[in-house]
C-alpha cells in the first residue's frame, strides 16, 4: 500500500525529548498527542505527515524532532510512540513535571542561577507545595522579626 499524499517523515529522538509537549501544542492539525498515566507521560505521533509546515520541529526546545522530506510515496508506517517518567512531588506525591525537565532544572539552577543542590529542595516539589512552603517561610520570618 502506498500513501502518496504524505510528504514528510517524522523522526523523534526520544532520548533528547523532555516531554514538555510544545510540539503537540504547535501542530496545527493536532497530530501529536500525549496522556499522563500514574508515573509516565506517553506521546504518540504519526510516522508520516501530510502537512508542509515545520512547527513541531521549530517549537521543540531541544531539537528532538527531525523532519525528513520524502521524494517518493512511502508505504504506510507504524505511528511513533514514546514515553517518559513523571516526577512526583516530594510532599504531596502527585506528578508535576517529567524527570528530564526536573534534571534540566537542577542543572540550570546550578550553572545559570548559581544555586547548589542543597539550596533548592523546593525544586522537588510541585507548584502548590512550593506556595505552601513559601508562605510558611514568610510566616516564620515574620514571627522572628517581631
Amino acid at each position: 500500500m502506498t500513501v502518496p499524499e504524505f510528504h514528510q517523515r517524522i523522526h523523534v529522538d526520544t532520548d533528547r525529548c523532555l516531554g514538555c509537549f510544545a510540539c503537540a501544542l504547535a501542530c496545527p492539525e493536532g497530530l501529536i498527542g500525549w496522556e499522563d498515566g500514574e508515573r509516565t507521560r506517553r506521546f504518540h505521533a504519526p510516522a508520516l505527515c501530510s502537512g508542509d509546515c515545520t512547527r513541531c520541529r521549530d517549537a521543540c526546545p531541544v531539537d528532538a524532532i527531525h523532519l525528513e522530506p520524502m521524494k517518493e510515496p512511502a508505504p504506510a508506517a507504524e505511528p511513533l510512540c514514546w514515553s517518559l517518567s513523571l516526577a512526583l512531588c516530594r510532599m504531596c506525591r502527585k506528578p508535576f513535571t517529567t524527570q528530564p525537565i526536573l534534571a534540566l532544572l537542577t542543572r540550570t539552577l546550578h550553572h545559570t542561577v548559581g544555586l547548589s543542590q542543597g539550596e533548592c529542595h523546593w525544586a522537588l516539589c510541585c507548584p502548590a507545595c512550593r506556595r505552601d512552603l513559601e508562605s510558611r517561610r514568610l510566616l516564620d520570618a515574620a514571627r522572628w522579626n517581631r
Binding site: L18, L25, P61, L105, L109, A128, R130, R131, S135
Partner: protein, 152 residues
C-alpha cells in the same frame, strides 16, 4: 514610576478581593494566590527575581529580565513548553487555561503601568496590604535566606 509589588501579609484578611480584581483585569483566574492558614493569610505573586530561574530555563528567550520592571514575557517568542512553570520557586506561574494557554503570572498590570496607573489589586485591597514600591524598599525583604535567591 515605582513598579514592584510589595506585600505586607500581616495586614491581609484573606478576602480574596485582589485575586478577583486581578482575574477581571486580565481575564481568567487571578495571578495572586492567597494562602490561608489558621490565623494568618499570605498573598503570593511573582517576585520578579533578579536571577530568575524561569528566565534561565526559557529556551526561546521569551522571558526577559529588566532592571526597572522585573520579568517580562515576549509572547510572540513563547512556544508554551511550560519549562518556566516548572522553574518558579514560589509556584506562582502557570500555563493559562485551555490548550495552548500562555504562561500566566503577575506582570504588575503591564498595560496599566504603561499608562501610569496603579495595579488593580493594590487599588482593591481594603486593608492596604498591597502597595507598589521602588526596588530598594522591596529588596529589603530579599529572601536569600530561604530560597538562596535574590528576589525583589
Amino acid at each position: 514610576m515605582d513598579s514592584f509589588l510589595f506585600v505586607d501579609f500581616t495586614r491581609c484578611i484573606a478576602c480574596h478581593a485582589c485575586e478577583t480584581a486581578c482575574g477581571r483585569e486580565h481575564g481568567g483566574a487571578g495571578r495572586l494566590y492567597v494562602m490561608r492558614f489558621e490565623n494568618a493569610a499570605v498573598p503570593l505573586a511573582c517576585r520578579q527575581c533578579e536571577a530568575a530561574p524561569c528566565v534561565a530555563m526559557c529556551p526561546e528567550d521569551a522571558l526577559v529580565y529588566d532592571e526597572g520592571s522585573g520579568v517580562g514575557l515576549v509572547v510572540e517568542r513563547c512556544t508554551r513548553c511550560g519549562l518556566c512553570v516548572a522553574a518558579c520557586p514560589f509556584g506562582v506561574m502557570r500555563l493559562g487555561a485551555g490548550p495552548g494557554g500562555d504562561p500566566v503570572r503577575c506582570d504588575r498590570c503591564r498595560r496599566r503601568r504603561e499608562e501610569g496607573r496603579l495595579p488593580v489589586c493594590v487599588l482593591t485591597c481594603p486593608t492596604q496590604a498591597l502597595s507598589v514600591q521602588g526596588r530598594a524598599v522591596v529588596q529589603d525583604r530579599r529572601r536569600i535566606h530561604f530560597t538562596g535567591l535574590r528576589v525583589s
